[in-house]
Symmetry: C2
Subunit: 330 residues, 2 copies
């Protein structure tokens, strides 16, 4: 039947209105849904967190460094330190050398607590060896390596400054822990620190090594390390010690200069005491220092000479933390 | 007559004995005389002084430095400082740039108080100019120059250390007084020290100049200085200031690096107050700092750009004076 418009206003209008209203409501819901998706997520820490896709590596390989941290039986410290180190400016990537043989890496937990500022790679090891950290990891893309012990906390300021110093001395180990060897009349060498007699070149003390457990060095040296005499690996494996002394020998031989440049840290802390594992580092072993003297002498045999050279250069950051730390009463 | 031996014992024996005794006595006297000539001369200061001929220069030109000290109206300070500086190890020679126009050099007095450890040359000037000290003196034989103001006393330890640092950075001015320039939004530069705002490259402060009034630098730069645009000499003469800023521009342009390396002095003193002359240095003039900002801007015009670069490297001597000045509570 013909239903003229004027006769069916109520019913026709009703249906059209219904359709119109439905459309409007649906459109509004869609808009609302879109807006919700764009809203910031409010987290417990009250910081606005704009959720975004993890970006590809934005730091260029020449202006950033890779942190290599070996860990054994101190996962609580490792995770505490990773929270700090993952945020250091100019960090490209973290490589965790997992010496906890047979134990699962905390990757699931790590990922569940993401996102993280940089990629962290857990390298599972098959044998618990000190020299595992000195492999030439394929994941390493930067020229610079920062090697840290898993119980050492050093401030971001110190690391940023030391990295800038390394960029001026890229051939050398630039770090925070200086040590030295001394020669004795018998020709036997001894290893130690400030407590040992000065080598006797003028005033003051000298150092001839910078330990790699808190230092920057060129990634090329990891490559070089793979080409050392077998006896070096045997020595490190026998002592589970001295990999750092071996690296200093390698660098000194390569450069003909002092192997390291010492940067005086403003804030460096050893967190050993804070671990729940009850495990304390290798350096507490009674024979630790004697072993290191032993290593120096063995390495001199292996390399047929003493390549280490002395330095007395101590570098600090001008005007930091104290803006006039260089003022003198003139 | 034949005098048998047995018959003349008394007289013959007598003559032979006399001859023999005479010979013995003469020999003894000669020996005694020789011994006397070899004995040390005891002087009033109770130190044995083995008088010897002044030796020719025993320091090689590459392992020693020449002190250049310009002096005006402070001869009492000059002589006090010379007594100290003439004894610095590795010093080859002293060149005193005598800006006391028309006044006799104290050469007679100097010689009468000899011997001196090294030669001291007094270079008489005809005009009292700040830049007189930047001539390429023919007496200069060493690669290294130590330039000191005539009112600055710095310890031998500091100088020995800074010289060893210069040998590691021979292209740069290695010294004890850091300064900086800053850029302002208008493009006009300002000169100053720690009191000026940091240039803003990360934490802490930066320096872009090391003043030559207490520094080591390569003698080649004195040669280079003779080949600068006339406008540079005009500027220094007009202000009687800024020769050191000009040198920093020269070195920065030449190396493309920061012009200086700052070594933190342990003991540096200004002896200005101690002079009898009542003369106090140019830096007390009211316009001194403003002049130096003026010079920075003029030099940027002359050299068509700002070559100065910033550094925040501060070098100290490891383990001196405090044998554990690098210890950290770990």
């Amino acid at each position: 039947r013909y239903l003229p418009f004027c006769k069916l206003p109520g019913r026709v209008m009703g249906i059209r209105l219904l359709r119109f209203t439905s459309v409007v409501i649906i459109v509004l819901l869609l808009v609302a849904g879109a807006l919700t998706a764009l809203l910031p997520n409010i987290k417990d820490d009250k910081m606005p967190n704009l959720r975004r896709e993890p970006k590809p590596q934005s730091q260029s390989a020449s202006d950033s460094f890779t942190l290599i941290m070996q860990t054994y039986n101190r996962t609580d410290l490792l995770l505490k330190l990773l929270n700090h180190y993952q945020a250091i400016p100019q960090l490209h990537k973290v490589i965790v050398v997992w010496n906890n043989i047979g134990e699962k890496i905390p990757e699931e937990m790590w990922n569940s607590l993401g996102p993280h500022p940089v990629p962290v790679v857990f390298k599972v090891q098959t044998v618990n060896r000190m020299r595992n950290r000195l492999q030439n990891f394929p994941e390493l893309e930067t020229k610079a390596v920062l090697m840290m012990d898993d119980d050492t906390l050093i401030s971001a300021h110190d690391l940023a400054f030391a990295f800038s110093v390394w960029q001026q001395f890229p051939e050398q180990i630039v770090g925070f822990v200086p040590r030295k060897h001394i020669s004795t009349p018998s020709g036997v060498y001894s290893y130690g620190s400030f407590e040992l007699q000065n080598p006797g070149f003028g005033n003051g003390d000298q150092y001839s090594m910078v330990l790699i457990g808190a230092a920057f060095f060129h990634s090329g040296y990891l490559e070089d390390f793979q080409r050392q005499p077998e006896a070096v690996y045997a020595l490190i494996d026998e002592t589970q010690n001295c990999d750092d002394i071996a690296m200093n020998f390698l660098v000194a031989k390569h450069t003909g200069k002092p192997s390291g440049v010492f940067v005086k840290p403003v804030d460096i802390r050893n967190l050993e005491k804070d671990t729940n594992s009850g495990y304390s580092g290798m350096w507490h072993r009674a024979e630790h220092l004697l072993q290191r003297s032993y290593c120096v002498n063995k390495l001199v045999n292996i390399y047929d000479g003493m390549p280490l050279k002395y330095s007395n250069i101590m570098i600090s950051q001008f005007g930091f933390p104290n803006y006039a730390n260089h003022k003198n009463k003139m």
